[in-house]
């Protein structure tokens, strides 16, 4: 380890060399750790051995291959990440490294006696790199291979993350204020309560200031008004229902971290009594009925998710095209055997069930999980994406991720295994969410302000250690490490970048691909409100409430639990019971009745979850596989066409506006309205429709004169109609 770091120390000068040579831009704070020359990178492992020579380097940020012929500047890709280049692999993005010895692959994890002639790097963003080291000096091979393996595969201290070097070397980061709500202030939570009208029954609390309650909980969070400070403090926040979101009808989505299995009888008695008390308080009016859902028993476990994803991604991490064709033959059954799509389906289904309780049964739903930071986050986020159209805007989605995941305390560091501390903790929970959201995006493109490309780059950003967003386990961990001992070298606390500042990674032109041109913006919530109130009532009647009558056969287990619940908690508390038929019926009815109607892109959105509708996120998973490539085809062709069309319409509009203003500047002083045109058109395609009808009042006499013109005569009716409207 020492040697490498030392090389790094002396590398400042050489780094400059390299930069000149390869026109490679390094990040601030980046240090060269080791390098190897005349490395041969295969373009694709197709047996043809085509490739390029270059220099393979490893820095404290990334592994990079610097192409020797730097003429590649000509065909600059349109969509380029400014931080991570085509041949860059951030250390956190490395999934597995294999060495090839005499045509045999061996996983490289730590010490090695013999150095391989070929290095295969599998990345978490599913790229596969093949480097041939046969022509490299033995010394360099040793250094680069052990360097890469060491820096990317062995346990690491948090402070060794590039995040910190970057933040200390680039002190004057712009804080990238955008519309994303970070949920790190009391204000943010209060605003959110207000936005969802949850403030009648829920309050934001400051109990956890100084992390008095728990280091796992955020500084500020929201609980039912009736929950006292003492009870929050009693079990470090466990057993306390924490508010996630309120539905328009007042029903709320809550989450709670459960007590761990306790050996000690008296403790568990105490906990039980405490829980009963809590349930009693929050199930009294004004609170709605309460339904609890223990996610750890009703959903696949973290381990299941990890296993399924590991198998699934293997389908796409392909060494050579022979492998590819071998898997291709049995594509569907292989896909099935990974179980990944089924897991996505299960989560979507659970989210629909929860939405049904909130929406149709006006029931509060309490999600329970041991930590309330994994499966809870997936379900609560999905429910909000489905039910709250704000979460389908870019800033709304980002705020949601801040709320439920980043501030909410999802252990990104552990789940992504960024530090290689404990492989058992690894589980792609956040990726699962993105996969589920992607299903919704591809089923209802006009409902989302962002595109699948957005989701893909967001998933890639999980492994870019210059943003703090995905590199802490909790707000507490971030806070202590921001200010902590680092003061000796720093003038102030670290200023981290947030991933939501997309300009750090992408030029504006590339950023355009993250926004969905077909997004149907929300109409102003004006007149129709009254109407819906009235209809709402009708709807209640139209849905037969008796549909969910119990089936005559009731299992023993069911009866017992019911009895138990009745006795202990009273009838106002229900529980999802996993016996298949009954919840299924009410769920199915809800699902079917929703699907039998046309979609409102700003209302409730339920994904189709029948087999044929759950698909593979081709953009993310197939993007590096040349065999799956279609020249001039694929969904991107559609996207490009749409952008073209948009540009065309926009340019026509500009032209129109120009002709306008010319006409006016010639004779009359510009009418103020015209100046607005340019601004309004940016809202295209709805700009025209939202244009205010500001217009000069016209004496009817001038009218007559104009009617002589042919084209005006044709449009006669329109003018008459509208002028009527205006006056």
């Amino acid at each position: 380890r020492q040697t490498c770091v030392q090389t790094g120390g002396g590398g400042g000068y050489r780094l400059y060399d390299v930069m000149l040579q390869a026109k490679c831009l390094f990040c601030t704070g980046e240090l060269l750790l080791c390098e190897a020359n005349t490395v041969y990178k295969y373009i694709q492992e197709d047996g043809s051995n085509r490739g390029t020579y270059g220099k393979l380097i490893c820095t404290n940020f990334k592994i990079a291959f610097l192409d020797e012929d730097s003429s590649s500047d000509d065909n600059e890709p349109q969509f380029k990440n400014k931080i991570v280049g085509e041949n860059d692999i951030t250390l956190q993005c490395v999934d597995q490294i294999y060495g090839v010895y005499d045509e045999k692959k061996k996983l490289l994890t730590g010490q090695m006696r013999k150095y391989p002639e070929k290095l295969i790097i599998y990345c978490k963003d599913l790229r596969v790199f093949h480097f041939c080291l046969r022509y490299t000096k033995e010394e360099e091979v040793k250094r680069i291979v052990s360097g890469i393996v060491h820096h990317s595969q062995t346990p690491k201290l948090l402070k060794r993350l590039f995040l910190f070097s970057y933040a200390s070397a680039a002190p004057n980061n712009t804080d990238g204020r955008n519309q994303t709500v970070m949920f790190d202030t009391l204000e943010d939570w209060r605003d959110e309560l207000e936005r969802t009208k949850g403030n009648v029954k829920y309050k934001a609390v400051v109990t956890n200031e100084g992390y008095r309650v728990s280091e796992k909980l955020p500084l500020y969070f929201v609980v039912p008004i009736c929950v006292s400070e003492e009870s929050i403090l009693k079990f470090q926040g466990r057993g306390i229902p924490i508010w996630c979101w309120s539905c328009h009808n007042g029903a709320a989505l809550l989450k709670m971290s459960a007590f761990p299995k306790e050996q000690d009888d008296s403790t568990s008695q105490m906990q039980k009594a405490f829980l009963d008390g809590i349930y009693k308080t929050i199930s009294k009016p004004p609170y709605e009925l309460l339904k609890m859902d223990d996610l750890s028993s009703s959903l696949p476990s973290l381990q299941d998710i990890q296993i399924a994803y590991t198998r699934f991604k293997q389908l796409f991490l392909i060494d050579n095209n022979a492998d590819f064709w071998a898997t291709d033959v049995k594509w569907f059954s292989l896909l099935e055997s990974t179980n990944w799509l089924e897991i996505i389906r299960r989560f979507l289904k659970k989210a629909i069930e929860v939405a049904e309780c909130l929406e149709r049964q006006h029931t509060n739903v309490l999600l329970i999980e041991e930590s309330a930071t994994d499966l809870c986050c997936v379900i609560s986020s999905l429910v909000q994406v489905m039910m709250d159209s704000y979460s389908r805007t870019k800033s709304g989605f980002q705020s949601l991720i801040q709320k439920e995941w980043v501030t909410g305390g999802h252990g990104f560091l552990d789940r992504c295994n960024h530090l290689h501390k404990n492989d058992k903790e690894e589980a792609p929970v956040f990726l699962l969410l993105l996969n589920c959201v992607w299903q919704l995006v591809q089923q209802y493109p006009p409902a989302f302000e962002f595109t699948e490309t957005y989701l893909t780059v967001l998933s890639d950003s999980l492994y870019v250690p210059i943003f703090s967003t995905f590199f802490f386990n909790s707000q507490h961990q971030k806070d202590t490490n921001t200010t902590g001992e680092s003061l000796k070298t720093q003038s102030g606390p670290f200023k981290f970048l947030t991933v939501w500042d997309w300009s750090v990674q992408f030029e504006p032109k590339a950023q355009a691909l993250l926004s969905n041109p077909l997004y149907a913006e929300k109409p102003k919530p004006d007149k129709s409100q009254r109407k819906t109130t009235r209809f709402k009532h009708q709807r209640q009647l139209s849905l037969p409430l008796t549909q969910t009558k119990s089936s005559p056969k009731r299992g023993f287990f069911r009866e017992e639990t019911d009895h138990l619940i009745k006795n202990i908690l009273g009838k106002r508390i229900g529980k999802f019971i996993n016996s298949s038929d009954e919840p299924h019926n009410s769920f199915r009815e809800f699902y079917d009745s929703w699907h039998s109607k046309p979609v409102d892109y700003h209302g409730l959105l339920l994904p189709c979850i029948d087999g044929p509708e759950i698909k593979v996120w081709a953009q993310r998973y197939l993007r590096w596989i040349p065999e799956a490539q279609l020249h001039g085809g694929g969904t991107i062709a559609t996207a490009a066409k749409i952008l073209d069309l948009m540009e065309e319409v926009q340019s026509l509009q500009v032209k129109m506006d120009e002709e306008h203003s010319q006409a006016i500047s010639r004779d009359v002083q510009a009418v103020p309205m015209l100046r607005n045109c340019a601004r309004l058109s940016s809202l295209f395609p709805f700009a025209l429709l939202q244009r205010q009808s500001v217009k000069p009042a016209l004496p009817t006499s001038t009218w007559k004169d104009l009617e002589d013109e042919d084209d005006l005569v044709k449009r006669d009716d329109e003018f008459v109609d509208l002028s009527g409207d205006m006056s």
Partner: protein, 679 residues
């Protein structure tokens, strides 16, 4: 919302209502229930009408009176299930993949309906088919013009034929050589009548090699035929000369590909029956290639298996993926595509002519030739071109429509989804190259529907000869004219004729991989639970395109007005007193433009936008216009629309029985107690 179950049928309604009225009242059954197969919602109560041509179900619900129309010729099977307490279930499966599940209260009625339908769905004479009674109220000239829309001679001229190497042959003028071929056949100039006739005697059903597609850029051709009667050793000099003539018609190449689209095993089995495949030793300079596309029986079973998967109620991922793979359907589609790609590459990249055959040369050969043509020539990716392609490779070359699609009662073993597979290949290509086709998915679905509907005469019979004998063109109408009239509905908004991609050969992956092939739910599941519109993006784009066009027009109008105003102005320049008025005028003209862009205008314009389902756009909700079909801002039933206020209201009026929906609290009577307990 009066919305027929299949909106395509809705289109038909207006066309055929006259006829239906004449023969109304054949059979009426009341109090029939139509089950929604997937959804758990209540069955719709209504009346069932059986007419000479349709089964019609009209719902009783007074506001909707939803109608479901099914043509008899669409019915593929009728199944009467065991009577239950509620009535007698009748299951009607259609060739367009609709499944209608009826419950008829009286067993006797059900039996009558069943028996009548069995008869009606299996006509024995062509004259019984719908097209002979269908009258879209066109006069004779219009009908004739309709039939002339697609002209194959014109098409061969477009390909550059006749030329120095190819000519039209009249050898088959009275169907004397081959009765399943058209009268006009294009062959190499050097192939004399003697060679043709000789070769035809050596080919199964006398289907000798004839031109299907010609690429004038490099003189390569795709020819088609049936298998040779080679057995184990037979030879035919004329047939060898025929192939040589084809090869020589492409002077740039010194060999000819002979593609047998069958699996090798099948071809070898045919040898025992005196048929088989070309021996490379006997023919000079040919390269022989097998491409394993399975026979019609395998395909029929495969589709059956896939449809079983489609019929699963809420299939899990596992059911679906396993079912799909086990059906092998997509593998068969891929095999056809691979064959097409192979031929397209041979023609475009190697410059080598290809002779394609299978057994009789009317199923797999038609599929493969048309896929290859579609890849090679952008013309076939236009709407008109696609009609020509089907007319050329399928209709004229004697694809047995009647047998394959069971128009008349016949051998069920002859039925197979051959053209369905081709249509699906086109759809798969459209998915892969969304900008390359002028038409959209709807167009394909309509073509598929009408291949089975027998509403138009195009796809009747098994050959041109039979169609001429029946005087189809004088007695029925052409589908192509009907589709062409409504072409605005079938346009792909992503298509641009001037785009480079649309001008060239499509290059799918040489060996396209399986995960590029998708399950086509738009076809096989299109009647499910009103599966929400899968074309929403495309519909959306249509609207955007419309808008672009409007802006263009607007611009033009504006330009004209500006010009005329300038003229007026220069005339009036000296008259100072009028200056004031002039200014006002201009000011007004400015406001006109803003007027033209107000929501109302867009709204009214979009109303005319061809949409199938009734518009539900709220006049006031201007921002929703583009999505009028899919949106339901004004729909009272969508709960998510409701605002806070309504939520409060619900809260206050909640009754205990409401809480009773909770699965675990279903014993409604306790819930009152429970509330009190908790309080």
């Amino acid at each position: 919302m009066t919305q027929p179950v299949g909106w395509r049928l809705g289109v038909m309604t207006s066309l055929c209502v006259d006829h239906v009225q004449q023969s109304w009242q054949q059979c009426i059954v009341e109090n029939v229930r139509l089950l929604d197969r997937v959804s758990s919602r209540k069955a719709a109560l209504g009346t069932l009408y059986l007419t000479a041509t349709h089964v019609i179900f009209v719902e009783n619900a007074s506001e909707t009176r939803k109608e479901t129309w099914v043509l008899h010729s669409q019915i593929s099977s009728i199944e009467k299930q065991a009577t239950t307490a509620t009535g007698c279930p009748l299951l009607i499966r259609c060739k367009n993949f609709q499944v209608i599940h009826l419950i008829i209260p009286q067993e006797r009625d059900c039996h009558d309906v069943y028996i009548s339908l069995i008869r009606l769905a299996r006509p024995v004479k062509y004259e019984e088919l719908y097209c002979f009674s269908f009258n879209p109220k066109l006069d004779k000239e219009e009908r004739e013009r309709g039939w002339k829309l697609v002209d194959l001679n014109e098409e061969y001229n477009r390909m550059g034929i006749p030329n120095n190497y190819w000519q039209i042959s009249d050898v088959n003028r009275d169907y004397g050589v081959c009765d399943s071929y058209p009268t006009e056949v294009y062959v190499p100039k050097s192939a004399t009548a003697h060679i043709i006739v000789g070769s035809s005697k050596f080919r199964s059903r006398r289907r000798f090699p004839a031109l299907s597609y010609y690429c004038k850029d490099n003189n390569t051709s795709i020819c088609r035929s049936s298998q040779p009667l080679s057995g184990f050793s037979a030879r035919c000099l004329e047939d060898e000369q025929m192939l040589q003539a084809i090869r020589k018609a492409n002077p740039g190449s010194d060999f000819l590909y002979v593609v047998d689209t069958r699996p090798k095993l099948n071809a070898m089995a045919n040898r025992a029956a005196g048929k088989g495949y070309e021996n490379e030793d006997n023919y000079s300079n040919i390269k022989f290639q097998f491409i394993g596309i399975e026979n019609i029986h395998v395909m029929r079973n495969s589709l059956q298996k896939m449809l079983e998967v489609c019929e699963l109620k809420s299939p899990s991922m596992s059911d679906f993926l396993w079912g799909l793979e086990n059906s092998g359907w997509l593998k068969h589609i891929k095999a056809i595509m691979d064959a097409g790609i192979f031929i397209a590459k041979a023609v475009a990249e190697e410059g080598v002519s290809v002779l394609v055959h299978c057994s009789d040369g009317w199923d797999r050969t038609a599929q493969v030739c048309s896929v290859a043509s579609l890849l090679l020539d952008p013309y076939y990716r236009t709407m008109k071109g696609f009609m020509v392609l089907i007319e050329k490779d399928w209709v004229s070359f004697g694809h047995k429509f009647n047998h394959r699609y069971g128009n008349l009662d016949g051998d069920p073993k002859e039925i197979s989804p051959v053209i369905d597979q081709f249509i699906e290949c086109v759809w798969q290509l459209m998915e892969q190259f969304p900008c390359a086709f002028e038409f959209n998915e709807r167009f394909l679905i309509h073509v598929q529907h009408h291949i089975y509907s027998c509403q138009f005469g195009n796809f009747l019979c098994n050959s041109q000869k039979e169609r001429r004998e029946l005087k189809i063109q004088e007695r029925t109408y052409s589908l192509w004219a009907h589709l062409w009239k409504n072409r605005a509905d079938y346009l792909n908004p992503l298509y641009r004729s001037d785009h480079s991609q649309t001008q060239a050969t499509l290059h799918p992956q040489i060996a396209s991989c399986n995960f590029l092939y998708k399950f086509w739910s738009g076809m096989y599941n299109r009647f499910e639970k009103g599966m929400h519109p899968r074309q929403s993006v495309t519909d959306y784009l249509m609207a955007v395109k419309e808008e672009t066009q409007q802006l263009e027009e607007e611009l033009e109008v504006l330009g004209e007005r500006l010009a005329s105003l300038q003229k007026v102005q220069s005339n009036d320049n000296k008259v100072k007193s009028k200056q004031q008025d002039q200014n006002k005028e201009l000011g007004r003209s400015t406001s006109n433009i803003s007027l033209a862009n107000t929501p109302q205008e867009y709204n009214s314009n979009l109303k005319s936008f061809p949409s199938r389902s009734p518009s539900q756009g709220d006049e006031e909700d201007s921002a929703l216009i583009l999505t009028q079909d899919n949106l339901k801002s004004s729909d009272p039933d969508l709960s998510a629309n409701s605002d806070q206020e309504s939520g409060v209201e619900d809260l206050s009026c909640r009754s205990p029985s409401n809480g009773g929906c909770l699965p675990s609290e279903d014993s409604g009577k306790d819930s009152d107690e429970a509330v009190f307990l908790a309080v």
